[in-house]
């Protein structure tokens, strides 16, 4: 079936360094992508989204890059902080869908002090 996958289950970075979390998606018909952060025992929290007509979108300390040619999505976190430690999920929405999101497996980001 179709799925959104992440390249690495765990990413460990030093505090202050930049983090890059990758995601490969399989459905070329997807037109909207979103990154969520999930801390232990909590629900997913919206980080940033991007539509398929864009290649890059920036937020506060975060940037999402979309490469439709290779169906790749990445989340860049600048100056990673201990509070960034969490599980990160990418999700996709198929064009024409009712709004249903398909989530990937998640990458655990560990920030070392």
């Amino acid at each position: 079936g179709e799925s959104v996958g992440l390249h690495l289950p765990t990413l460990s970075v030093q505090e202050g360094d930049n983090s890059i979390i990758n995601c490969a998606y399989s459905n070329s018909a997807s037109d909207y992508f979103i990154w969520y952060k999930q801390e232990s025992g909590k629900g997913p929290q919206f980080i940033i989204d991007i539509r398929s007509n864009m290649d890059k979108r920036q937020g506060q300390r975060v940037t999402v890059l979309l490469n439709k040619t290779v169906k790749h999505l990445s989340l860049q976190i600048a100056a990673t902080q201990p509070g960034d430690s969490a599980v990160y999920f990418c999700a996709e929405r198929k064009a024409g869908n009712t709004g249903k999101l398909i989530f990937g497996q998640g990458t655990t980001l560990q920030v070392k002090p």
């Binding site: 959104v4 909207y32 979103i34 969520y36 025992g41 909590k42 629900g43 997913p44 929290q45 919206f46 989204d49 999920f89 999700a91 929405r93 009712t98 709004g99 249903k100 999101l101 398909i102 989530f103 990937g104 497996q105 998640g106």
Partner: protein, 116 residues
């Protein structure tokens, strides 16, 4: 800041018993979603409501699961009878517009279900 409310936060039940979860979406959000999240995996959609109507329940195990949103506001998800494999986090999310416009979904804190 408005939030999605869910209760209970934790539920332990014996297999074959009935269990129910409640969700109150952000005010004004017409679309409500129920997800199941198994530990270590991403959320999987169980059912989606647009106002009081179900628009997607293709992944809902209808022999034991039911969901309703009678007045198009809060919603209840029920499992009867519960099975050991139902142990998971049940997440509720809402969005302003599910079929057009913003697709951002706001999640509640979830209900952690343990079936013994």
């Amino acid at each position: 800041e408005a939030e999605v409310a869910q209760s209970p936060r934790y539920k332990i039940t014996e297999k074959s018993q009935a269990v129910a979860f409640w969700c109150d979406p952000i005010s004004g959000h017409a679309t409500l979603y129920w997800y199941r999240q198994i530990l270590g995996q991403g959320p999987e959609l169980l059912v989606q409501f647009q106002d009081e109507s179900v628009v997607d329940d293709s992944q809902l195990p209808k022999d034991r699961f039911s969901a309703e949103r009678l007045k198009g506001v809060d919603s209840t998800l029920k499992i009867q009878p519960a099975e050991l494999g139902d142990s998971a986090m049940y997440l509720c999310a809402s969005s302003f517009a599910g079929t057009s416009g913003s697709y951002e979904q706001y999640f509640g804190p979830g209900t952690r279900l343990t079936v013994t």
